[in-house]
Structure formats: structure tokens, C-alpha cells
Symmetry: C3
Subunit: 298 residues, 3 copies
């Protein structure tokens, strides 16, 4: 039995795995296991992978837990991504970094992810980047095949422009567009991405929702300092940490943006979960927007 991803069933946060392995915390198998159980205990059941994380090793790490803990698989939903080809010792055949959304690559990538993750099915497959050569008809066909075979339950994209999303979604239903959204990357608010999600009732998800590390270090940049000062005021008001305010800022948008959490620390995930009770006022949202903009709105 699977837990179908819908606008109502999705967790308020997705657990990003990018930095759990060799690209970050380098968790041991038992640490992964503890981390996964910690997330599930918090009722956060969506785990977000990509074939390339850890230079093609993080799916394997994660699969090593599932191998001996088959019970966990049914309690979670797994998203993974394909379509970026990295130059890597683990893919010696790659001569250059490229995108590849051919049916052949998508299918091969799904097979590899299934094997690495030690699972029979992916809950969601995302196309990681818009290959400039993507053929929406070919993709719709391979999605249909993968669905029929039970290998992938739902499909989505990442980093697609509204017109790229539109052409593919007109052929095969997409459940999300995972894009970079944060106080420091506000394009999605103005380039039609969130408008499209609202119109189609698609769930947007946000990678790098805290804007990278910049807001957490001392800075001489005027805008960063203004954001930090506003964050400090709000953190005090809500008796909260800075990251909690940033999650509340994203989640105030009516499209229902799902932040992808990048941490390997259960306490930060717990903090994120607790931040769900913070409701910024409209004016507070704009205080942060204007600090990031560096000026008053028009």
C-alpha cells in the first residue's frame, strides 16, 4: 500500500537528502537510520533524493538502511530526480556536465535509483533540470510506461520555467515544480511560477529555502544586514530562531510552498515543524521582502 501524494496529504516539509552523505554530514548507516526514524516520528514522510547527490552515492547510503529495515519503506514517500549528468568517478562515461531528458536516460536512471534505494517503486520522479533538448512527447510516453510498470507513482519537475512546465503538463500531469525560493531568490514570486502553481493547483516546493548560509553569517552587505536585523526582531517577537522565521515567511504564500529542509540535525527539523505555528502578519512578511529588496515597494 502506498500513500498517494496529493495537495492534502503532502507533509508541510520535504526532507532533503543532498547533504546527508558525502556532500555534507557523511552519516553512517545507523545515523541515517536514526535520522529517518526521527523524521517519521515528526510525521515528515517525504524524502527528497536525486541520483547525483554525493556524486551518485547518497541513494545507496539511504538504500542500505531500507535493506535491513523494510518496515520503514512503507512509512515514507521517496522522491528522486534525474536528468543531470555530472562528471564523476562514479560515472566515468560522462565527458562533460550535461542535462539529459531522453527516454533512454530517464528509464536507465530510474532503474539505477530503484536498485540503489533498494525499493520497488518511487513515489515521485522529478526531472532535475530542463534539458534544452527535451521532447515533451517522448517524456510523456516514458512517464506513462514507468507508471504502468508500477515503478513510479507520480511525476514532477524541478527548475522548469512556466512555459516548459506548461508544455509537459499539457501531456502528462505533474505534481510539483521544485524551484529555488527564499528571501534571497525571489524570482518565483514574479516570473509566473507561483501564479501557474496557483492556477493549476500544483504544489510548489522550494529548494534552498533559507537562501544558503549567507543569512547566518556576519556580513558587510547592506541588504543582508537589513534582513538579519528584521529577522532578529521577528525572532524575538515569536520567541523563535531565524530559520523558523524564514520557513514561516515562505509558508505564508497561499500557493502552499513546501520547503525542502537541508539539515541532517533532527533538532533543526523539529524546530521547522514547530515553526508551523508561527503566523507572520502581512506587514511582517513585507518587512522582510523590503529588507531583501533594499527599498520600499513601489
Amino acid at each position: 500500500m502506498t500513500m498517494k501524494l496529493t495537495k492534502d496529504s503532502i507533509s508541510p516539509y520535504v526532507i532533503g537528502t543532498m547533504r546527508l552523505g558525502t556532500w555534507g554530514s557523511n552519516l553512517s548507516t545507523s545515523e541515517y537510520e536514526n535520522f529517518i526514524e526521527g523524521c517519521l516520528d515528526l510525521n515528515l514522510i517525504d524524502f527528497d533524493h536525486a541520483d547525483i547527490y554525493g556524486h551518485y552515492t547518497t541513494e545507496d547510503d539511504f538504500g542500505n538502511v531500507l535493506k535491513s529495515r523494510k518496515d520503514l519503506r512503507q512509512k515514507m514517500r521517496i522522491t528522486t530526480k534525474c536528468g543531470i549528468k555530472l562528471i564523476s568517478e562514479n560515472r566515468p562515461e560522462h565527458q562533460i556536465k550535461s542535462y539529459d531528458l531522453t527516454a533512454k536516460h530517464i528509464e536507465a536512471s530510474v532503474e539505477k535509483s530503484l536498485a540503489s534505494l533498494q525499493t520497488d517503486y518511487l513515489d515521485v520522479l522529478l526531472l532535475h533540470r530542463p534539458d534544452y533538448l527535451f521532447d515533451p512527447y517522448e517524456i510523456a510516453d516514458v512517464f506513462s510506461k514507468l507508471k504502468k510498470e508500477g515503478k513510479v507513482l507520480e511525476f514532477g519537475v524541478s527548475n522548469f520555467s512556466p512555459s516548459q512546465f506548461d508544455v509537459l503538463n499539457s501531456l502528462t500531469p505533474l505534481v510539483t515544480n521544485q524551484v529555488e525560493i527564499s528571501l534571497l531568490h525571489r524570482n518565483a514570486f514574479e516570473d509566473g511560477t507561483l501564479d501557474q502553481c496557483q492556477k493549476l493547483k500544483i504544489i510548489p516546493s522550494a529548494w534552498s529555502p533559507l537562501g544558503g548560509g549567507l543569512l547566518f553569517k556576519e556580513s558587510s552587505d547592506t541588504k543582508i544586514k537589513a534582513i538579519q536585523s528584521t529577522l532578529a526582531t521577528l525572532a524575538k517577537k515569536y520567541d523563535a530562531a531565524t530559520d523558523q522565521i524564514l520557513y514561516a515567511w515562505l509558508r505564508k504564500h497561499p500557493a502552499g510552498i513546501i520547503p525542502v529542509l537541508g539539515t541532517s540535525k533532527i533538532e533543526r527539523i523539529k524546530a521547522a515543524q514547530e515553526a508551523l505555528t508561527i503566523e507572520l502578519t502581512h506587514e511582517e512578511w513585507y518587512m522582510l521582502w523590503e529588507a531583501a529588496l533594499g527599498r520600499e515597494i513601489d
Copy 2:
């Protein structure tokens, strides 16, 4: 009995009220009354307000005329706008300039505008700016409620991008997008705004149709000088004033752009009305475009 706003019934110009009160000419009540009667005599019956004009005082000024001249109300159509919150003595609760298109704010703003304007209904309500947090479903619901209650007859937006317009218009019919269009602000010709109006047969209206005061002052800017020189040639040919040529330039577009007049002088409004007979040739339109562009078209 109301005069429903349609593509056929709209006046060729809308009378802007932004600078009638404390943000400009500071008209007395009797001067307002004369001005309004002068406009109606010219068969210009659309008056364009916003809650914020005159720091939330211009609707009151206007309403003071309607209070003692109830006969005038039926001869005019009133548009007003909501959604910008200014820092103002008259709104001490505002801590920061922000946009707010929540149902709660829209409804409260309509109630205030009705009271200030001393009228039972608004002919048109425009959303003044796209709140980054706008929820099209919530807005469609409150529009429906306001319409059912007879408080607002038609709805539109201002300064919305094509994708913002699209998502809201897919849920509730919009009658206009009032955007900045002039020789000095030509984005609407190229960013899809006018294409969308033509496709949907929506009436675009243009704020700041003369481009602010820049074209009416001596300037050392090469492009401004080139525009002024072309305007002078055309003004001579058509025995017209500069502002008349600029209105004719806007009105040549087949979308039927309605300029919002910013003057409080009846003679300039009369002049605008007279400019309706000026028909620039295609080449003359491009002479002004290329002067503003600073080069030949491609």
C-alpha cells in the same frame, strides 16, 4: 440605474483624481463640483480614484460634492482601487508600506471607500498592485460577495503582469488592467500585456499617459530632446498641443488604450477630448517610437 462599463460604453478617457486633492491642486469643494460638471459636460463620465490618493483624503473630498449633489452620482461611473497600505497619519496602524489583497482588507477598504465617496456602490473596483501573497481563490470569493451585495458592479486590476492577470481572470472576469503606458514606459507593448488585452478583449487603461512631466521641460537628455523635436513637428502639422499628440499616440493602438487624465484643468481635458480627431499615420507613430527608443527599429 447604473451605466454598465463595457468595451463599447467606456469613455475615451478616464478622469484621474490623484492630483485633485492634497497630492496636487487641492481643489475646494466648489472647485471639485465645477470640475466634475465640466467633465460630465464633455461626456467623460469615468472617474478614477484610489483609497490612498491624498493620503486617504481625496475620496472624502469627492464625496463631499456627491453628498449635496446626489444627481451627479447617476451621471458618472466611479472606479476606485485598494490594496496598497501607505504609512500615513490617516492610517496610524500601518507600520510599513505594504500591499494587501486579503479578502478582509479588500472588504474593509470597499466599505471605507463607499462611505468616503458617499455612494452605495462602486462601478469598478481595481486591485491597485499585485500583492505577492495574493490568493486568487480568496479574491474571487470576495468579489463574488461584493457583487452580490450590490456594492461593486465590476472588477479589474492595476499593474498586474500577464500571468497574474491570467490566474485571477480565470476565476473571476476582469474588465481592465490599468498599467503605466507612455512613450517613456513602453513595456506593455512588448511584455504581453497588450497582447493579452487584445486576445481577451479586455480594455487596457494607461496611467501616467504623458510620461510624467519630463517631456514638458527643457532637457539635456538626447532621447527626450528627440521626442520633443518630433512632437513639435507633429503638433505643428496637426495644429495641436504636445499632450494631444501624446494621447493620439496611445490611442492609435488597436487594443483601445484608455488614458487616465491627470489634470485638474478643464481646458486640458477639453483638449484631450478634441485630440480624438487626430489620427497619426503609422509612420508618425513610429517616428515617436524611434525617438523614444533612441535608434531605428530592427
Copy 3:
């Protein structure tokens, strides 16, 4: 009998005529005849004109061949364009360079092109540039009239943005959008133009597919040098010339981009035809993209 242009029947290349006459090779009538026969022998039957080429003389040159070789007309398809008005000795009435997509100008231009080309019908009429004043309803009507009269069989546009294409195509079916696409002009890959073509199954065609002469001259520009070096590697691998690799690069896109060939030399056209057998790998396509981009993709 005409050969209807469809996605299946179109030649893999269109023969551009821009530089056959006074804007380039200045072919004599017999040279034109040889060139045309050479193209038809290669089964390349689409000839791409515009009223303005050679300052309004190239259609006449071409028509001089058809006058005495009526047999050739039935073996080819003729596209021509209208809508740009050049300052030219041959159009002394033009005071300024402008665009004009009024019905009146379109109709007059078609009549002139038919007379110049010495033919009864145009296979395809393209609107050369988006006149900022274009009225899609007026254009749809004149297209309908021209089609009914048998003067034009199909219609398309050139250099239209997706929203401009959309509004016109919603009223009258368009067969192509001819835009600038090459390694040095990559906008169409990202601005929605090719997405729209794929969604609507419209044939995109590419003017200046080799990017002008820049890639064929020594250059001190880092990106040009990087492209040239990658081209040299690929040319060696495929035993091909540089222009052949560039055509293969364009044709790899699944939208089926049709390059408009700009040469008057039959051997270069033969080479382009031979390039149809070159199939670049996905990685090779990205090697050229990244060389042109000046960096790795994200």
C-alpha cells in the same frame, strides 16, 4: 496543383534568398536559374523571400526566372514576408523605417510580391516583424480573404514573441515562427518560443543559423575561440565542415528547427543536405552550448 506545407512535407532546409541579389551575390538571371535548379535537384523546394530583400529587388530577380521557366514554379514552394517598410529609393514614399501590419499594407504587399515573383499564389506569407500596432482581428480577416482568393495558401510569422504568436494563432492558424536561432543567439531555447512550437506542433525556422560570419573568422573573443575549438574537434570526428556541424546542432532539437540557408553556393547547400546524416550526441550538443555560454551549465 500545389504541395501543401505540412510538418511532414517541409524540406529539412529552407533556401534563403536574402543574399542572392543586390544584398549579396548579385546573381544574373541565368545564375539564379542554375541555383534554383540545383536546389530542386537536391529536393530542397522551399524558397524564402521577403519584399525588402535587395531593397525590394530580389523578388523581381527571382520572378524573371519563373517568367520564362513556368515549369519551375510547380516544383517549388515560395514563402515571402511583408510588414517592414524600408527607407529605399524603390519606395520613395517611406519617410522612416517602420513596421506595418495593417490589412491595407499586407494586401498591397502581397499584390506586389505576386507581380514581382510572376506567380499567381504564395505558398506561405510571413509577417516579418511584430508591428507594435498589430490588430490580430484585422490580420485574421485579411488572411482569410487572401486565402479565399487563392493568393496565399498558408500564413506564419517571424520574430514574434510567444504572446504575440499566441494571440494571432488563436484567431488564424500559423504554420511557423521564423526566429533567429544559432549558437550565438540562444534566446529561443529559453524564452518559451521553442516550448510553444512543441506544444502547438508548429514548425520553427531559424534565420542566421550559422550566427553570421563571426564563427568563421579568427577572433580574440574567448567564447568564439572556445566554440571554434569545439567545432574543429567535432568536424574532425564527423569528417565534416564547420557549417555542417552547426546545422546538425540546430537540427538535434526535437522541435525540428528548419535552418534558413543563406548561401548562394550550391556546394554549401549540398553540404548542408549531407549534414543531415550527422547525429551529434547529447554530450556533444552540450559541449557546444557550454562553449557558447562561456561556462558549465548549472
